[in-house]
């Protein structure tokens, strides 16, 4: 009963669940939800069996693009994204990064050509033993998880 009161059900749209509490507002900013004109629920510090405390974002009447999904995968790789139609989950979107990510983040190497000239960034995703590493296609340096700096477009 109490749970239902906290977060209302969504008819159509996207639910991003199991967000680490410190990443909720990062995702709000990635998806530009500050200027979203439709029904929007942002919950944070909710109890979670899996992670102790968590955040959740429900966006009505919006399906996330692949680019938005990969941005979320970069900052919150363990979050879950569900697409809802008529109160039912119609798609559980895997937060897979694919083999390459294009132009969603900056290279952390200050001497990389992409930080000096108008060149879209490209990173090769290396997934070894569950650890994801991102290698710049140009300067070949690896970007660490806490160095990820998304592009603002």
């Amino acid at each position: 009963m109490e749970k239902e009161l906290k977060v209302a059900a969504l008819k159509n749209g996207t639910v991003i669940d199991h967000i680490p509490t410190e990443k909720v507002f990062k995702i709000v900013s990635i998806l530009r939800l500050k200027v979203y004109g439709q029904l929007l629920t942002i919950g944070n510090n909710l109890d979670s069996k899996r992670m102790g405390r968590k955040g959740i974002i429900k966006i009505s009447n919006r399906i996330l693009s692949d680019e938005e999904t990969s941005k979320i995968a970069l900052v919150a790789p363990n979050a879950s994204i569900n697409i809802i139609r008529d109160y039912k989950v119609v798609e559980k979107r895997a937060l897979l990064l694919g083999d390459e990510i294009h132009d969603v983040m900056h290279c952390a190497n200050p001497m990389c050509i992409t930080n000096h000239q108008p060149i879209p960034t490209k990173f090769v995703v290396i997934n070894e033993d569950g650890i994801v590493r991102l290698k710049c296609k140009y300067c070949t340096k690896e970007v660490l998880q806490d160095e990820i700096n998304l592009k603002k477009k």
Binding site: C107, M111, E142
Partner: protein, 303 residues
Amino acid sequence: MNNSLVSITDYNKEDILSILDAARGFEKKPDRDTLKGKVVATLFYEPSTRTRLSFETAVVRLGGSVIGFSDSGTSSSTKGETLNDTIRMVSCYADAIVIRHPLDGAARYAAEISPIPVVNAGDGSNQHPSQTLLDLYSIRKTQGTLENLKICIVGDLKYGRTVHSLIEAMSYFKPEFKFVSPDELKIPEEYKIFCRKHNIPFTETAELNGSFNDADILYMTRVQKERFQDLMEYERVKNVYTLHNAMIKNTKPNLRILHPLPRVNEISMDVDKNKKAYYFQQAQNGLYVRQAILSKVLKTGDV
């Protein structure tokens, strides 16, 4: 693909060996006319006289011509032209581009947008494949083989791009490495992962003396001031190792000392006369290797 050479990892074992075989042919007969009528553009956004002259000599001795600039101060980049525009413009005039750039990744980007082949002559602290190929050529020439060698690498193993490329290129030939560096300049973790993945044994030490007594190749490097973002760090480590003639006394007879040059203080002048010093011949080998590289990217049929 436009047949570019940006990183040594663009070439597999077969490619590498075919370059080395062709280079041996150029050493016997460097003057040919296989690039007659061809124009090679050398775009040097940072000065590197040695590399530029070596590439330009390679072109001229094969009968080709050279255009380009040797200092970005005199080029259109001072007017703010992007690399993209320069590459597109130059590719209208030339048959191949040799590029040197202070920023990491510049050569890969150039190769991506260029319709003609691009040869990387050094992009920042990233890649310098012609240096690696001439290192391999020198190793094979002095040891008779590339297989099963003990290689001791000394100096800046953190920023030294020639070191990283040498490790990758030698991985085809079952080497054993010893890495000698101060703590601040240790070999990055990703290259240790690379060695483990390819079953390449390696050890690390900070002590130079005696560390190369069982080695076949002693590869010395310079601590490069221009690669440091923290000059205090540079001052702490710049003169950490100096190789003296007396230190070579107990080494194997087939040991050869290599250095990508220029050297500063890391090899004392008294080593130069020792027959184990090979760094000046190594530089000369660069010409033949670059002739082979240009012949391959321009498909003259020699490689």
